[in-house]
Homo-oligomer: 435 residues x 2
């Protein structure tokens, strides 16, 4: 939790820097609210037993509950973040940070606005968080559902095969195009020609240059949806250039993202494993953030179909956590689990009253203080406790100190001891530890 | 959430001041772990559907999962806090802060220690938190399960009726002794004489004086359990005197607390409603914190029955929250939901690039900044947004400012505007808002 809280602090600080308010929705939602929104993955939803009440289920993500919340409360504009647990009836893979119960960290902007300003801010947020966490070099892939749909249309893919083709396409970061094509043809029933046409597009990567090139593409620029998407992509790259982050952005026509509800720009950040042991080139080690625009989800929950366009991003906190944890174990670095500044100790017997009185004074002065829950602990045991717990200071109060109205303040690392007048103790601890 | 986070901050600061580490256990536990620990209340446990896996349930509180965690991980010593949601299939009562899904804030000390030191610290924590929150005058009632059991024994209550008698006794803060006695005799089957004997004890309230008096009580002091409990109660009052909080503590023989797992000292903090509209005396408005010692719970989960004594306290955050919320609504005070320091605004059209570039600089300098998601918003709308959201500053960048390399910094409240050199803007915002 100590490491996790550090991580949360970085993420929350960024979300607040961008003006988001925190909201909290229940972990339990009406089952019918959830089952229709996750396609095949609906089978992973944890359902509650019917114990004589509404039929309930545990939330699968934070996006659908957010849309439900906006619809129910008739909210037209909101910038919110939400850090909470979600639940999936899946096979856990601990080392890769995949659990049945795990945290999601979401930031979303809801409202009818001018194009791509909010979308660009979501990418800026991903860039800020991944830079701040120093977990290694990363790349943010972007694409647009409208470009994908247009591309599929001009390649002759029937609309009925869009979703299933997307899910095959998503595997292009794990296997070569040859295998992806094979799956498209043999399992998904595309014609080899259609697959080849897709292949020409989805292997393209680039920046503004690629956007410009595709805007000149005779077929793609004829397709209304694709043209809209490319126009917005151009604007997005202009804004990202102003934000100074365009160097980490890759327009990637193979990025599809599984979820049904995206309607416009989509993105996914991946870590690049640099200079690994085998001297190979940069390899992606998986997605650590992702999101996109979903303009129709709120309307689906609203009784009158009122539309609230949304764009958001989810930080893959569990995967980042497992990377940080592994790195820390490898380096032997230790994270303190408590923040205790001082242990109140006594060197002789029959001084529990003195300890209780002194620690009470320190607590009341806002100092983080502990004592051992023993009537007469040995001084050595008390000092050992500080070593074990990483407590930096010991306030020793013995018979002599009581007579003199002082406390002996000991620095655990240097073993230096200084007598401090009792009424100045809290200030002295603060002076040493809170610079 | 903004108000709630303030509340959590106060509670967490106190828990950390007392050297606790944070832990997080899953919201979902094995059903069999839970059902045996809550007596009658087990019917309130939310169970998950059997979807082909373990039989699961949502946690009912944080104490049983903590004990399960200590047992599973073979931990002998731990001081931990845990703030998380728990779930009860109960009838909600919103105004009283009773929900089906709600936060608990728990602090517990596990380990074999000398008597009453950790117990006294739990009471100190309750005192610190309730004082800090300034929610009005409060009283912390204490009793001991061993004193209760001894008292019941000498009054001739058979052990089989202990639990049910306790639950009737718990109503003494809501109805007069006469009615409690009636329930004991008519519904619980006690003899009127036994009920009268209980009545003599349970109407007693006091401090150290009452402890001393009961230690002299010829019958009670003969009972081994009661004598042990009274001896510890005396020690507890000595420690609480050293902590300087004895004035808010009431030894109250009617305090029983429903839960089965308590084995020693128990306590409950109640708010006293002072000077209410009808000029009545102080009236209790209900429990805002409670806890006690549970020495046998970890052993019940441990395969070898290894005993880990525990004492803890749970802060009734939802009830406190509903009190604070009501008070705020009554006073008309508003809590800002965001922390945005500055809105980046433009006074003319075609300046979105200037806004994006400037806001990006501010974010990178750690300033909490927003802009409107419009290409060409009217200045008046931008200023109105600040008023609505409580944003204190506006950074205005127009054609003139761009030429001069400055930004016009406007104070929303005073409407004063000053030109600031662009490279000094972040520092100036910090100087004004982060003293």
């Amino acid at each position: 939790m100590a490491l996790r809280e550090r991580l949360f602090d970085t993420v929350v600080a960024c979300f607040k820097r961008h003006g988001a308010a925190a909201i909290d929705t229940p972990a339990v939602e009406l089952r019918e609210m959830l089952v229709e929104n996750y396609g095949d993955n609906s089978r992973l939803i944890y359902e509650l037993q019917d114990q004589g009440g509404e039929l309930l289920a545990l939330r699968y993500d934070l996006t659908v509950p957010f849309a439900r919340y906006l619809a129910m409360n008739k909210i037209n504009n909101m910038k919110r973040y939400h850090i909470a647990k979600v639940y999936r009836r899946d096979n856990p893979a601990m080392t890769r940070g995949r659990y049945r119960e795990f945290y999601q960290c979401d930031f979303d902007i809801a409202g009818q606005f001018d194009p791509m300003i909010a979308d660009a801010e979501c990418l800026k947020i991903v860039h800020e968080i991944l830079s701040k966490l120093q977990i290694g070099d990363f790349l943010i892939k972007v694409n647009d559902r409208r470009i994908l749909n247009g591309m599929f249309a001009i390649c002759g893919i029937p609309e009925s095969k869009l979703v299933t083709t997307c899910s095959t396409l998503d595997k292009l970061d794990k296997m070569p195009w040859k295998d992806v094509k094979n799956e498209m043809v043999r399992e998904k029933g595309l014609s080899p020609e259609a697959a080849d046409r897709i292949g020409e597009y989805v292997q393209l990567r680039g920046g503004m240059d690629l956007v410009e090139k595709l805007l000149q593409d005779p077929k793609l620029s004829q397709n209304k949806l694709a043209k809209e998407g490319l126009g917005d992509m151009k604007l997005l790259f202009e804004y990202l250039t102003l934000f100074g982050i365009v160097g980490k952005i890759s327009f990637d026509l193979s990025l599809a993202r599984g979820l049904d509800y995206y309607t416009g720009v989509i993105y996914e950040a991946v870590l690049l494993q640099q200079e690994n042991n085998h001297g190979e080139d940069s390899v992606s080690v998986g997605s650590v953030a992702g999101g996109g625009r979903y303009d129709d989800l709120v309307g689906a929950f609203d009784p009158k179909g009122r539309k609230v366009p949304c764009v958001g991003v989810s930080i893959g906190i569990e995967r980042i956590f497992s990377i940080l944890e592994r790195r820390m174990k490898a380096s032997g670095e230790k994270v303190r689990t408590t923040e205790t500044q001082v242990l109140v100790a006594t060197p002789q017997k029959h001084l529990i009253s003195a300890r209780l009185k002194l620690i009470s004074e320190l607590w009341d002065a806002g100092i983080k203080a502990e004592m051992m829950y023993r009537k007469d602990p040995k001084l050595l045991k008390q000092l050992q406790y500080c070593e074990d717990m990483g407590i930096p200071l010991v306030a020793i109060i013995g018979e002599q100190e009581l007579r003199d109205g002082v406390v002996k303040l000991r620095d655990v690392a240097t073993r230096e001891e200084v007598d401090i007048p009792r009424e100045e103790l809290a200030a002295e601890i603060r002076r040493r530890l809170e610079p």
